[in-house]
């Protein structure tokens, strides 16, 4: 495994973005950082800027107001980058999928690598999603 790849898979840096969700998934994402689940022990750190991040963790259905911002954040991330869609809203927009101000799931706007279902998914499920992503990165 090359040094860069080793660095990325050993310690993925994350940036989190909410595209109009109810906050439930965001609370569970932040709970994953807290002492009880503590994803930092896996080398995962949350960064403040997309330019420093390997992984974009997105929650919420994409509202019209936020769509451009989501695309911009994705474009600012350096290659190679990955996206994890956390929660039912991020996957399909449900239960807001037919609301007038909602586009749909995240993958209607940017490509997604890992989907973590749940409403909201528990922190364990979110960590599992990140681990799956790391395995995917290691594999190819």
């Amino acid at each position: 495994m090359g040094l860069l790849k080793w660095g990325r898979t050993k310690s993925p840096w994350i940036i989190h973005f909410n595209t109009g969700g109810c906050n439930a998934c965001d609370i569970e994402v932040v709970a994953a950082l807290m002492p009880r689940y503590d994803i930092e022990r896996f080398g995962i750190i949350i960064r403040g800027s997309p330019r420093h991040a390997d992984v974009l963790v997105v929650t919420g259905p994409v509202t019209r107001q936020v769509k451009d911002r989501l695309v911009r954040i994705y474009e600012q991330m350096p290659e190679p980058k990955s996206v994890i869609a956390v929660g039912s809203c991020a996957i399909s927009g449900a239960p807001f999928a037919d609301c007038y101000n909602v586009y749909g799931g995240i993958d209607t706007v940017i490509p997604v690598d890992v989907y973590v279902p749940g409403c909201p998914p528990k922190p364990e499920a979110i960590i599992n999603g990140i681990v799956k992503l790391i395995e995917k990165l290691k594999a190819g």
Binding site: R64, C99, Y100, N101
Partner: protein, 164 residues
């Protein structure tokens, strides 16, 4: 009416005394809940009376409802945290204007803006009716809470005609 609702009935009685047959409908649905529909031409008088003389100084929110030819605007007023009086006034769609109440109760500012966004009611005298919840680029003739705009119709129009 039971003894419990006497205070509410008293309020209704005072309103009727103030504006007479311009109280078009009134109902005390339960303790601490009053609904009154007034004629638009006495709206200013009614709201001033309730907020300044009857101590309904808290605006919980303002609701707009599309009832066909008209928009019904409901002012949910509260007195001392307890009794909630919903003052309703109907405005014809072809002349969708009401005076602002932000000169009496500044806290109503965002509620009026919201009703303006989603139903198109113009609150005359409001300092700033710019969009508050609808996104930029939203087409100006699409009022989402109007019955003629179904969700499917909105989505078609906004994806095609709007900037998004």
């Amino acid at each position: 009416m039971t003894e419990e609702t006497t205070e509410e009935n008293e309020i209704v009685r005072k309103m009727k005394h103030l504006i007479g047959k311009n109280v078009l409908e009134s109902e005390v649905t339960r303790p601490r809940r009053i609904f009154i529909l007034v004629n638009k031409k006495v709206f200013g008088k009614a709201i001033r009376y309730l907020t300044k003389r009857m101590d309904f100084s808290h605006v919980s929110t303002i609701t707009g409802v599309d009832v066909g030819e008209e928009i019904e605007v409901i002012y949910h007023l509260n007195r001392a945290g307890t009794t909630e009086l919903s003052l309703k006034v109907r405005v014809a769609k072809d002349k969708l204007v009401l005076p602002t109440i932000t000169d009496i109760i500044p806290g109503a500012t965002l509620y009026e803006r919201e009703v303006h966004d989603i139903l198109g009611v113009i609150f005359e005298g409001h300092p700033d009716l710019s969009p508050v919840i609808l996104p930029e680029g939203w087409p100006s003739d699409v009022y989402p809470l109007r019955k003629e705009w179904t969700i499917k119709k909105i989505q078609k129009k906004v994806t095609k005609g709007g900037k998004r």
